[in-house]
């Protein structure tokens, strides 16, 4: 281990001396990519092996990551990066397969639903083909199954089923010895993702009971209610896992809290779609977090990030203050900004922004 670390440190030192970069392998990426995209070192490449259609708006992508990928635990997610029209886009998705598939066959799956107006999800559906290669980060997240068997309730909404599929498969394979109940909310029968897989799981894993609830098949919409929770035996003793749209998560948290379940018992995860672009002045401004300075400040109106930083007493590097010189470019880790010159909205993910012409819209986090 130590030898390996020393080796990487020596390589990084040599990389800086010879190639002006700390990761010498990435110097050869442009050449490697031309020969075999799976040799790229800057990220973990993953080849699309198969694409399965789950529903009218959901597909499962079966990926084979390069063998150096370090794996994951059930319930975790990864960032993927794809180049769309020349722009590298990063998005987070839950892994829908069990870690066993990775350990045995070297494959993982991502189950992805189209978001209305979503750039990346729609591109993945329309343009990603079998044989293509995309980038992967290491897995992360703490939406993990209990270390020791105890009763579990899983509440999923729509595409929120994805990390839960991974959890359930793993529990079944490991013979997790405690009652497991899944309440799965979908709009209509047609929206059920991995219905056959859930049926098969319930058939071979007797501890599991699955309830699929359609919210929009009767005159009155059926959202999560007390009756649904009453149907779960021994609810108060259960570890609860929530994954779904904001409305469902809020409702579930509220109802569970009323029933006296503690915060430490309830686990949540979900990735909300980005807000669609609008130039309405009233939506501008928001909390700006400067990660390195450990500083959060509120802003309103069309103040730029540079002005906000300076008003907060920070001294970010800047030059022309009119969008020419890029001296003030800074890494944004999350949030949406509007370009003051073009009026265009940025993506919600990680990217470089020019502080002097970027106006926050909603909360923004910067590496500054």
């Amino acid at each position: 281990m130590l030898a390996k670390m020393n080796q990487t440190r020596a390589m990084h030192w040599l990389g800086r001396q010879l190639l002006n970069r700390s990761n010498p392998a990435s110097y050869f990426d442009p050449l490697a990519e031309a020969i075999n995209p799976m040799w790229v070192q800057a990220y973990t490449p993953a080849r699309v092996e198969r694409i399965l259609v789950e529903t009218h708006d959901t597909k499962t992508f079966v990926l084979r990551p390069a063998s150096r990928w370090t794996g994951f635990r059930a319930g975790q997610h990864v960032n993927i990066c794809v180049d769309i029209d020349g722009v590298r886009r990063q998005r987070t998705f839950s892994l829908s397969s069990s870690p066993l598939l990775w350990q045995n066959d070297g494959m993982i799956t991502l189950t992805i639903k189209r978001l209305p107006g979503g750039l990346v999800t729609n591109w993945l559906h329309d343009h990603l083909e079998e044989g293509a290669v995309l980038g992967l980060t290491e897995a992360f997240g703490d939406f993990l199954m209990p270390a020791v068997p105890k009763p579990v309730l899983l509440i999923a909404g729509g595409s929120g089923i994805t990390p839960i599929l991974s959890l359930l498969e793993t529990m079944a394979a490991e013979h997790f010895r405690a009652p497991v109940t899944l309440l799965y909310f979908v709009r209509t029968r047609d929206d059920v993702i991995a219905g056959e897989k859930l049926e098969a799981l319930a058939a071979r894993y007797s501890a599991l009971s699955v309830q699929i609830i359609c919210t929009h098949e009767s005159d009155e919409p059926h959202y999560l209610n007390d009756a649904d929770l009453d149907s779960v035996p021994g609810l108060k003793a259960r570890e609860v896992y929530l994954c779904g749209p904001g409305g469902l998560m809020d409702l579930a948290n509220e109802l569970l809290y009323q029933r006296g379940l503690g915060e430490e018992q309830v686990h949540c995860t979900f990735f909300a779609p980005p807000v669609s672009a609008s130039l309405d002045n009233e939506t501008l401004g928001g909390q700006v977090s400067f990660a390195h300075a450990h500083l959060d400040v509120d802003s309103s109106g069309d103040a730029t990030l540079l002005e906000i930083a300076e008003a907060a007493g920070l001294k970010p590097q800047y030059g022309c203050r009119m969008g020419i010189c890029h001296q003030c470019s800074c890494r944004k880790t999350s949030g949406t900004v509007i370009n003051r010159l073009t009026g265009k909205a940025s993506g919600p993910g990680e990217e470089s922004v020019q502080l002097c012409i970027s106006v926050p819209r909603g909360p923004v986090t910067l590496e500054a």
């Binding site: 001396q17 010879l18 020349g86 722009v87 020419i324 010189c325 470019s329 073009t342 990217e351 020019q354």
Partner: protein
């Protein structure tokens, strides 16, 4: 400089902004593919040059290896490094092509370059006393700077600057002229000097120690080839850059006329202070498209390979406002640069026709 009233300047700004917006709206796959292709070519040339170099005991191989490595360095400095650091490809969100993290294959640190070039030179272009790139504090290229006897021999300075160009650029931010005038102290320059030594040391170690030692039996050949490659790059970079602002018709400005200027006035200054040269596609690529210096100065953060496409539109706008679009063949433009260096080595000649500045 041609005088435009406020309304004309506003209109000029609108016209140029329209060109810029059009390109920005069209950025995408094509630009990404172009720069990645150039990066791939650079890697192939550098690897090829370094692999060939130890076989340089065969004379034609020595020439080929040196030229290949020289061209690799030129591509990396001009078409990749310079342009990436301008933020031309920041929109791609590719960490290896990011203006703030890119480090290039030359003595000058990227950080120092972004301060002295992106900010000072591109903001205060050709303003005597503010744009330190104007003559690099060693050459007198305009009568706005008073003549001193040592200017007589400035042609020698010019040759030296060209030969050691990467070291000159690396030391640019030291501001020796201000140190001499005691306006700043050495102590203030300590952090800069530290960075300079680290990066300069790294560059020298790589080309003059590591690779020669790696191929010990032929170390002198590899050393000579690497020196040659750096020299090729130095001479070419210096020549291209001198053609960008020191041609006969490139105008200079005073601090007073630029005080509190509008964006339109800034545009006008970029148009009249820069000069292009014409040539084939590869001449443009090897110059990092600084052969389109005018377009570059008007739109420093648009991907440079776009400049040839928008050049006609920029010329049209220049004609509309009666602005001189300074261009000519590479040789003719370079000739006026040499004339300028020579002419201003002598004191101002009031009676004679002054150079058109």
């Amino acid at each position: 400089m041609i005088q435009l009233d406020e309304q004309q300047l506003n209109e000029l700004q609108k016209d140029l902004d329209a060109v810029r917006d059009e390109v920005l709206a069209d950025l995408g796959e094509r630009d990404a593919r172009y720069i990645r292709k150039i990066v791939r070519l650079h890697r192939a040339l550098e690897v090829g040059g370094r692999v060939m170099m130890p076989f340089g005991f065969i004379p034609p191989v020595f020439v080929a290896a040196t030229a290949t490595l020289g061209v690799a360095k030129i591509l990396e400095n001009m078409e990749i490094g310079h342009n990436v650091m301008h933020g031309q490809y920041d929109w791609m969100n590719d960490p290896t092509l990011n203006s703030q993290t890119y480090e290039w294959d030359t003595v000058c640190t990227s950080e120092s370059w972004r301060r002295t070039h992106n900010y000072e030179h591109h903001t205060y272009t050709n303003i005597i006393g503010k744009d330190r790139d104007y003559g690099y504090a060693v050459l007198r290229l305009s009568d706005d700077e008073p003549w001193k006897p040592w200017h007589t021999l400035q042609f020698i300075n010019y040759i030296l600057l060209s030969v050691f160009f990467q070291w000159g650029v690396g030391l640019h931010e030291l501001e020796t002229e201000k140190l001499r005038r005691r306006e700043i102290s050495w102590r203030e320059k300590l952090p800069f000097l530290k960075d300079f030594v680290r990066k300069g040391g790294r560059q020298a170690f790589k080309d003059y120690v590591f690779f020669p030692l790696l191929t010990l039996p032929v170390a002198p050949i590899v050393l000579a080839g690497n020196v040659g490659a750096n020299l090729i790059r130095n001479l070419w970079a210096s020549t291209v850059i001198f053609c960008g602002h020191f041609t006969q018709d490139a105008e200079t400005f005073t601090e007073r006329e630029c005080e509190g200027e509008s964006k339109g006035h800034w545009y006008l200054r970029q148009l009249t202070g820069s000069s292009n040269f014409t040539g084939g596609r590869w001449l443009h690529i090897l110059s990092g498209h600084l052969s389109y210096q005018i377009e570059h100065h008007v739109f420093p953060d648009l991907p440079a390979h776009r400049y040839p496409e928008i050049s006609e539109r920029v010329q049209e706008i220049c004609r509309k406002y009666g602005i001189h679009y300074n261009t000519g063949s590479f040789m003719s433009q370079y000739q006026t640069v040499l004339q300028r260096v020579l002419r201003y080595s002598l004191p101002e000649r009031r009676s004679a026709n002054p150079v058109n500045v």
